[in-house]
């Protein structure tokens, strides 16, 4: 090992990083599966409802606000693009397909990561460093069941619902700029949405939101849960770094998995 390190440092570094990455992915997969199966244990309903309220209901306003302005911007940008080809009548279909297939799931997931994912990582991290997770164990309360499972369940429930809200409000935002501001025909706008949008588009969008839900919940909970295992920092600093890592890794993974799922759906 020592010889490899000195003779071919580049390959040694790459190899070590790869091993670490595979190890982390494996640990996260086990973490998710344990958390997922414990959703179905008794006494979970109340905790799941609490988390749906926090991750889902409390994120509704911000998600709808972002959806509205995303739709309005799309309306503006696409109108001036489509008018060059005398195709402004297609505005409704282009906006709805962009939102439902791509922008809705991705932007919703990023918004929830920023709002609730960071909070998940920080809250669990604080529970860890203040020994509250150990306290749960000493009380014979499984920390995975009590802390992680409800958050995974809540994310799986909330992400598709919030994505649907985002899509709907985004289409209305496009209507506000395209129809009311720029004068696209109102009937043509909604007719094109209805004609060109297919069930497979909606299904694909929801599939993405489910994948993002699993990724975001797993990454954020994992980062918080193993805050104490960090070797680069301790205490409050480790919670801070875990939260940062949770948000950054989640956002990157949302975009990477978006490409993977899109290519599989095409």
């Amino acid at each position: 090992m020592q010889q490899a390190r000195t003779q071919i440092p580049f390959f040694f570094t790459i190899g070590k990083a790869t091993f670490n990455l595979i190890g982390s992915l494996g640990a996260m997969a086990i973490f998710f599966s344990e958390g997922f199966f414990k959703i179905f244990r008794p006494k979970q309903i109340r905790e799941i409802v609490n988390q749906v309220f926090y991750i889902g209901a409390k994120s509704t306003t911000i998600v709808m606000l972002i959806g509205l302005f995303t739709g309005m911007v799309l309306g503006l940008q696409l109108y001036y693009t489509l008018i060059k080809f005398n195709a402004e009548g297609m505005l409704g279909s282009v906006i709805s397909m962009s939102l439902i297939r791509e922008l809705g799931p991705v932007l919703t997931a990023i918004m929830i990561t920023a709002r609730a994912g960071s909070a998940m990582a920080a809250e669990i991290g604080i529970l860890r460093i203040s020994e509250q997770i150990d306290a749960l164990y000493t009380m014979r309360i499984d920390p995975m069941r009590y802390i992680v499972s409800p958050r995974i369940a809540a994310a799986i429930i909330s992400f598709p619902l919030l994505t649907a809200f985002f899509d709907l409000i985004g289409i209305i935002g496009g209507y506000l700029t395209g129809v009311l501001l720029l004068g696209v025909n109102e009937g043509a706008y909604f007719y094109r949405v209805q004609v060109y949008l297919e069930l497979v588009d909606i299904r694909g969008g929801f599939l993405k939101s489910l994948v993002f839900a699993v990724l975001v919940a797993t990454i954020c909970c994992f980062q918080g849960y193993f805050t104490h295992m960090r070797t680069d920092s301790y205490g409050a600093k480790s919670v801070s770094l875990s939260t940062t890592s949770a948000v950054v890794i989640s956002c990157v993974m949302i975009l990477v998995s978006d490409y993977v799922v899109t290519s599989l759906l095409m």
């Binding site: 203040s130 020994e131 509250q132 150990d134 164990y137 000493t138 009380m139 014979r140 309360i141």
Partner: protein, 426 residues
């Protein structure tokens, strides 16, 4: 430094929990090094030792938060790592753990914190949970703050919440990890007496980590001294006082500050330094007198914890107020012995001073004690104590331990306090 193992059995029963050659390492550091010790049922076992000697690690092994790298932990003679899932669960259901920092859930109210283990681990109905939680909250005098959050409470109250949560499941064993850390001297003793009081009330086995030497010895049935990863001593408080062991001396001295927090007198170390500096310097043969007071409690008093601490505090203050202006200086030796040195005073004068002090004992100290007992325990509660004193004359070159031994040998009872008759002095 190699550790010798002194074991003094206080019970012939099978131990409730036994460590056999348990080793725990964190990286290159060996925290527990083939440690063997025993914890007996229905006793308060106190683990003492310097910081970083593995006291918390030891406690975490008992509850299963950590597992040993080598060795065996036995519960009623059965190795815990060989237990099946059901047995392990049954074993853990008998243990509660009170964390050093309480580990209360900040987002839950006091009531919800206490109710949490019942709601999550039992199938009790809502009404039954409510009843049990309310009972524990009342017993720990938290009724007025049941709807408050932990951050709104004082440190002492948070300790009581942690204790209520630890006791709500009716555990057979409660592990206390430094329950008095960060508390002021009065609150420390209240917490210690609270542990002793609830141990009697609920009948559990307590394992306690504490640095509050010697106050913690009042409530301890058994003491375990951890030293360099091993149990250097196991036994009762009385056995530890007869043990001439450098590690115990070093530990006791290292934990003493400038003052004995409870009595307000000098710490033993400062007392010894002052003795050497003021008496032995330049006057090799100057006369001194020494008075050794011993406060003895009856069995009932010993069980009440907090009043015992308060009585020692009152005695310390009275001795200091009386002998201090005369040039005397005093310190507490052992848990209930107070030694006063009177420089340049002969035996005859010292005896006269003791006689005067005996009058003050009856007039003031016993009155203060009576008032304190009535305010703390109510008018109907009873507590008896006696004060012994021994006065000797010596030379300033005499060793403190020799003086102590001589004074102890000459002790006679100088005051008796009985609950029904206030105090009487001889």
């Amino acid at each position: 430094m190699s550790s010798r193992h002194f074991s003094c059995r206080t019970s012939v029963d099978t131990p409730l929990i036994e460590f056999r050659d348990v080793t725990k390492r964190f990286g290159d550091r060996t925290i527990l090094d083939k440690i063997s010790l025993k914890i007996y049922e229905n006793q308060i076992t106190t683990i003492i030792g310097k910081s970083g000697t593995g006291k918390s690690v030891l406690l975490k092994h008992i509850i299963g938060l950590l597992t040993p790298d080598e060795g065996t932990i036995l519960f009623r003679g059965m190795p815990v790592h060989e237990m099946g899932r059901g047995e392990w669960d049954a074993y853990r259901s008998q243990i509660s753990y009170m964390f050093q920092n309480n580990a209360l859930f900040d987002s839950l109210t006091v009531f919800d914190n206490v109710a949490l283990p019942l709601r999550q681990t039992t199938n009790l109905r809502k009404r039954e949970v409510m009843k049990k939680v309310v009972t524990r909250i009342q017993q720990t005098e938290l009724s007025e703050v049941a709807r408050k959050y932990p951050s709104e409470l004082s440190g002492g109250m948070q300790k009581r919440v942690a204790l209520a949560r630890a006791l709500v499941t009716d555990p057979k064993i409660v592990l206390f990890d430094e329950p008095t850390t960060g508390q002021d001297p009065i609150r420390k003793n209240i917490i210690l007496s609270m542990i002793a009081h609830y141990r009697r009330q609920f009948g559990f086995t307590a394992v306690l980590i504490s640095h509050d030497i010697p106050d913690v010895f009042f409530i301890s049935d058994r003491i375990i001294l951890l030293w360099e990863g091993k149990a250097a001593f196991e036994g009762s408080y009385e056995e530890s006082t007869h043990l001439d062991h450098p590690m115990i001396d070093e530990l006791l001295h290292s934990m003493e500050g400038f003052q004995d927090e409870l009595t307000g007198l000098l710490s033993k170390q400062v007392f010894r330094n002052r003795y050497t500096m003021t008496l032995q310097k330049g006057q090799l043969d100057s006369t001194i007198s020494a008075i050794l007071f011993t406060v003895e409690f009856d069995l009932v008093a010993d069980m009440f914890g907090a009043p015992v601490f308060e009585i020692l505090k009152i005695m310390g203050q009275n001795i200091n107020d009386f002998f201090g202006p005369l040039g005397g200086f005093s310190a507490r030796h052992e848990r209930n012995q107070l030694l006063t040195i009177l420089p340049h005073i002969g035996l005859h004068d010292a005896q006269a001073l003791l006689e005067k002090f005996t009058h003050q004992l009856q007039e003031k100290a016993f009155s203060d004690i009576q008032l304190m007992i009535q305010s703390r325990m109510g008018a109907d509660m009873c507590l008896n104590l006696s004060v012994k004193a021994g006065v000797i004359e010596g030379k300033s070159t005499d060793d403190i331990d020799t003086i102590m031994a001589m004074a102890e040998a000459s002790q006679t009872t100088v005051g008796v306090y009985k609950c029904e008759s206030r105090g009487e002095a001889h």
